[in-house]
Amino acid sequence: MEKNLILQVKDLNIEFHDHLIPETVVYDFDLDLRVGEIVGLVGESGSGKSMSALAIAGLLSRKDMKKRGQILFDGVDILTCERNVLRKIQGNDIGIIFQEPMTSLNPLKKIGWQVEEALRIHTELSKEERYYRVIEMLRDVELEDAERIYHQYPHELSGGMRQRVMIAAAMICNPKILIADEPTTALDVTIQAQIVELLKRLNREKQTSILFISHDLSLVRQLCRRVMVMQGGYVVETGDTEEIFNHPREAYTQKLIAAIPKVVRKS
């Protein structure tokens, strides 16, 4: 493995078996993620982008699903390793945030409890140490009044704040990789921009690699150096973001870019 390479996905295939005819949702997915890099994964609904992300996070464990290929993290294949090996990686080395910050938090548990959960599982820190770590982390994701939020429930926070909480919980163990699955889709534009800025800053300061999944090409352009375009389960194009934006090779990529309304002076 290359020295800077932190995650390597080779020939990932995902098949559903919940109907009479098996349905492949991801074909031959390859990905090299390097330390401190932000890679964008773009596609429309049903393109297989979220499925690939869930597989990398080790969250595709349904029995009616078949996966082939390799997802190598630190010499461990996430697809085939033992559950307890996988659990040591989840939350500790790989964090994930989702589209709906409302439903992704347990409605009956306090924010503090949920943010420190990964610490409870992966570290031997005392209760007090954990508390200070959580407060520090909440401040780090730019939540003011962290002490109060620690004792609040998810329904008492706004959408943007909840997504910040999700990021704090995913980043609490300083993971090497953060997977962000459409993290700003449910948010207003101004909040969206703030969250993107936050992700950029965390990436810069902590050297966390980010896999950023989105349907929004212009958003990916703001955040990612490298981008992969998916359609119908296939990666159709991959490369430098600006390169792809300015000279898309594949017809589908061209179509996607053309579909973004342009703001240029009419007169």
């Binding site: 989840q90 439903t103 990964a118």
Partner: protein, 313 residues
């Protein structure tokens, strides 16, 4: 706290409405209590005198207030058929029905919670399917029929108890509880089957939600996800069901008391209905209503404790 106060207020309002309804309904239907009491000895003069004495010539609401006031002090009126105070007939029966119901309730909880969690965890497995079939059949059993079968099986064939051999709680409390074991089982079984089914589908439904995926993404074990995250959420609808089941059991015990010849509230309620002994019927219905309302109130309180969203809404 505000939530609790609101619920308490609602409970008292409902109690007021229920008792007023019961009073008015029986007032209209029961005709003239004076002539019922005097029976063949009635003469117009004696009737009028008795009516005046009983306050039957006052406006209905005044009569209701008087009746409610007496009820609160423990005076539930006089039985037409037995010419004795209703309270004497009812008070020593309440513990019997209550014990039977509570016993059945605990059986239901003890059977259903572990089985519900087990079947949810092993959904689709062989044992899950067997339990499903078993559940469906048990739910189809009318409680009195399971009562009859239990009598036949455990009473007559295995001789684990003596059918009809009721032991009063005043004589031997544990003997009393022992006798109530099988009747309680007959009440508990169908409700337990429903609770297993509900808890199973509730846990499975919760497990599909996004926050469960989040919990797994932090490296939780399956059991930790189940017990620390899912279970509390899944119990919310089950608590409602358990509350309703408890009130249903109070009513169900009326029937089961018949099967096992237990002298509880159900027994006198039924005799009083067929004798048209309205003061007794009214008193029992008000007592059961009170129990039902208290149970509902407790369920609401438990809700408030489990779910932080409630006190805000």
């Amino acid at each position: 706290m505000k939530y609790a106060g609101k619920k308490l207020l609602t409970m008292f309002l409902t109690l007021f409405a229920v008792t007023l309804f019961v009073f008015l309904a029986f007032h209209v239907i029961s005709g003239d209590p004076a002539s019922s009491m005097l029976g063949t000895e009635a003469t117009p003069a004696r009737l009028e005198a008795l009516r005046e004495e009983m306050g039957l010539n006052d406006p209905v609401l005044v009569q209701y207030a008087r009746w409610a006031g007496r009820f609160l002090t423990g005076d539930m009126g006089t039985s037409y058929s037995y010419r004795m105070p209703v309270s004497d007939m009812v008070t020593d029966k309440i513990p019997v029905t209550l014990t039977l119901t509570i016993l059945a309730f605990f059986m239901m909880v003890l059977i259903s919670i572990p089985l519900g969690i087990y079947t949810a965890k092993h959904a689709g497995g062989v044992i899950d399917r067997i339990i499903y079939i078993f559940n469906q059949i048990i739910m189809a059993f009318p409680p009195f029929f399971s009562g009859i079968l239990i009598t036949l099986l455990f009473g007559r064939i295995f001789k684990l108890f003596t059918p009809g051999g009721y032991i009063s709680y005043e004589k031997n409390f544990w003997g009393f509880v022992g006798y109530l074991f099988f009747p309680a089982l007959a009440i508990a079984l169908p409700k337990a089957a429903m609770a297993v089914k509900l808890l199973r589908s509730s846990v499975i439904g919760e497990a599909r939600l996004d926050y469960v995926r989040t919990a797994y993404s932090r490296g939780n074990r399956t059991n930790d996800v189940l017990y620390k995250h899912v279970l509390k959420n899944a119990l919310i609808p089950v608590v409602t069901f358990l509350g309703m089941a408890l009130t249903d059991m109070i009513a169900g015990s009326i029937i089961i008391e018949q099967v096992f010849s237990i002298p509880g509230l159900g027994r006198i309620l039924l005799t009083s209905i067929s004798n048209r002994d309205y003061p007794v019927v009214m008193a029992i219905i008000v007592c059961i209503s009170l129990l039902v309302l208290v149970v509902n109130m407790i369920v609401d309180m438990i809700y408030g404790l489990i779910d932080p969203r409630i006190s805000v809404e």
